[in-house]
């Protein structure tokens, strides 16, 4: 089936969550067995940010402890990194699944009473908070909650509980975005 065909069809329903979860768990398990490490996302963005800062202000980046951790000793391109390649795969895999199911669509998702413009602003603000949070915690829902959760990492479980706590505590105040 070509992707144009898929797009013209009505989107297929999502998979059963337990089935998707098993698939996701097997990918994570394969990563443990093959690499000895799990999945991630925010680390790749940090490499990209550190790379960008270095390109614009090399000495500034080198003197910053946070960036220099991602830049290494300068013998290796910081973008030739495991997580960077993994996240490129996430984009590809997401697109493949979405186009096979007729779900690739240029759109902005929000509840009925919300505007596109406000939704994009909220998405950006939420993203910025997550960027800060993920760096404080040394990982996000992928690297800490999912991966650390599966290897019974104590810090990851504390992190995971706090993600749910933070989200549930805030949900009421942003409900208009989603209703």
């Amino acid at each position: 089936m070509s992707s144009t065909e898929a797009k013209s069809k009505t989107p297929q329903p999502y998979w059963n969550p337990y089935l998707s979860g098993i698939g996701l768990g097997l990918v994570l398990l394969a990563s443990f067995v093959i690499m000895g490490r799990g999945l991630g996302a925010s680390g790749a963005f940090s490499s990209a940010v550190a790379y960008g800062v270095q390109a614009i202000a090399p000495s500034h980046a080198q003197s910053n402890e946070f960036y220099s951790e991602y830049l290494g000793d300068g013998t290796k391109n910081p973008l030739m990194d495991w997580l960077v390649f993994e996240v490129l795969g996430v984009f590809a895999g997401g697109y493949i699944s979405g186009s096979l199911a007729g779900r690739v669509k240029k759109t902005i998702e929000h509840g009925k009473g919300f505007t596109d413009k406000k939704r994009l602003l909220f998405a950006f603000i939420g993203g910025a908070l997550m960027g800060i949070g993920a760096k404080l915690a040394r990982g996000c829902t992928s690297g800490q909650a999912l991966t650390g959760g599966a290897v019974l990492n104590a810090g990851s479980w504390a992190f995971m509980m706090m993600v749910f706590a933070g989200a549930y505590a805030t949900a009421y105040f942003v409900r208009r975005q989603w209703q």
């Binding site: 067995v33 949070g133 404080l136 989603w178």
Partner: protein, 198 residues
């Protein structure tokens, strides 16, 4: 012991990047299959109307956790070679709270924002841009809180060590807890969920 393959030198860094890309494809594929390219579906978790996030996440954790436990039990995987990141308790608690707040405002988490953007969701792309901005802010402000960042360092700490139980016992308890959470999730969806299925 034969695994982790990379740790036992079966292939080098160049091949590991190809592995990374393939693993990422699988990761992105199943996230999208579950519906995690959609911020509406992800956010519904926090209003108890659609508990897919919890179901998928805990199913994945239990699958990988039980699989890893058995593979190490039969002597195939050397568990000590599987990376467990250092616990920094307070920064991780604060970071988790911030990420949770950002999640329900932004509608995605960092990994799912990639899937949203890849399937055309402009709010996913905006969230992704926000993450970059947040990391940049964090990096620029890093000298201000570098002390907090390395505080409460508990080393490589696992739940079996915290609770003084065997690894297998904690695996069993986490799996049992997950099954309980699935029952609670199904109940919550019946009580709070909307009539429509997706």
């Amino acid at each position: 012991m034969n695994a982790p393959f990379y740790k036992f030198g079966l292939f080098g860094d160049d091949v590991s990047l190809i592995v990374a890309f393939i693993v990422g494809i699988g990761f992105g594929f199943f996230l999208e299959r579950a519906g995690f390219g959609s911020s509406m579906k992800l956010a519904a978790q926090f209003y108890f109307t659609d508990m897919t996030v919890l179901k998928v996440m805990f199913t994945a954790i239990v699958t990988a956790m039980v699989g890893l436990f058995y593979l190490s039990w039969i002597g195939f995987v050397d568990l000590s070679e599987v990376y467990v990141s250092t616990t920094y308790l307070l920064p991780q608690i604060a970071g988790g709270l911030l990420l949770g707040i950002g999640f329900v405002i932004g509608g995605y988490c960092p990994g799912t924002s990639c899937v949203g953007a890849a399937t055309g969701r402009l709010d996913g792309a905006a969230c992704l841009a926000g993450i970059f901005a947040g990391i940049f802010l964090f990096g620029e402000a890093f000298p201000l809180f570098s002390g907090f960042y390395v505080s409460t360092n508990l080393g490589r700490l696992t739940l079996p060590e915290v609770f003084g139980m065997s690894y297998g016992m904690v695996v069993f308890l986490v799996a049992a807890m997950a099954v309980g959470a699935f029952y609670a999730a199904e109940w919550a969806e019946k009580k709070f969920g909307s009539k429509k299925t997706n």
